[in-house]
Amino acid sequence: MAKILLEVITPDRLLVREEVDMVVAVATEGEFGVLPGHAALLTLLEIGEARYKKDGHIEYMAIAGGIAEVFKDRMTILTEAAELGREIDIDRAKKAAERALERLRKKEGVDIARADAALRRAVTRIKVAEKAKGA
């Protein structure tokens, strides 16, 4: 069966480079899936979960926004930060979420957009980590 070559690249490392069966990620317009033979696509990614299926096994990732390009059974995800579900430290993510909430509550003198993004990243990481544990 045809496969997709998935590459997840961040500024400091190549997180994933694997032949996979299917990829699901969150774009600005919502979740989308990529199967082998997908049309060429370029899209912006939101902060959110991405997952890929390989030999019946599903791997979860937390993605901090970025770009995804699909071209000829190759998919490249460029993101400023990404982690595999099993690498995520849940306690740290929970603390980050609490800090972000705290900042959002204060409201004054806080960069709301930044705190909101931090919160969404932390929540995504918690979700992804829990899913990875369950899988």
Binding site: I9, T10, P11, D12, R13, L14, A27, T28, E29, A39, A40, L41, L42, T43, L44, I67, E69, F71, T76, L78, E80, A81
Partner: protein, 291 residues
Amino acid sequence: MATLRDIKRKIGAVKKTQSITRAMNMVAAAKLRSTQVKMEKFKSYSEKYKEIINRLTQLAPIEEEYPLLQVREEIKKVHLVVIGADRGLCGAFNSNLITRVERFITDLKSRGQEAILTIIGRKPRDYFRRRDVNIKAQYVGVVGKIDYIMARRIATDVLSSFISGETDEVYVFFTKFVSMVRQEPTVERFLPIKPEVPAEGEVSIEYIYEPAPKIILEELLPKSLNITLYSHILESEVAEHAARMRAMENATNNCKEMINTLTLLFNKTRQAAITKELMDIVGGAEALRAK
């Protein structure tokens, strides 16, 4: 004249210095390699990013009035981002860069424009702190530890003061790594962004764009600044290590030369002392016999 013991002591001192400079040379070499590895990894990210931006500009040339591209009619305040080193002992690395910046500031002043500085690195900071310039931000003691996240924070600050109109133009000063023996202080315009000239030929494949190319591009352009800044920071680091390696190699060689000269002097002095003693003995014996 120096006594034998003085010369011996001096040789010992120079030898110690030599072992320090030799060690520093090796440390710089190791750091150079690890920074180059970091640079390689970052390249796979930045090159892909640039490739995508290029393709997008082919499809949807961004209009001149887009704020990040727009060259302002009246330029009053110019922001200079200086990337230097925290430590010395790297030859003319810092002073070459500083000279370049000074020249630029003089030019600005002659045109009646004001310079605002953001400085990375202790050495250039120490220099400009004592001069009559406006330092907006400084990052000291971080060179070598700057990661992408930090570079992004610096770039975001620079960008927001550009957007708010606090600055009208931004230039980055850094040292280009040309080769192991050549590092060149360089200046590049950071903002407004020079629009890429779409590469000819190869009119790209039919892509589905989500959202429209123009919107994607407007999202990607500000982020491309982070990439530019971070790669300049990495390049400056590589150049610094190369400069230090060379400086330390020269120092080690100079020590070797000095040790040679001193050893020669030591031997000559010793020989002279022996000759003198012999003369004394012979002279004494002669005197005795003459009686």
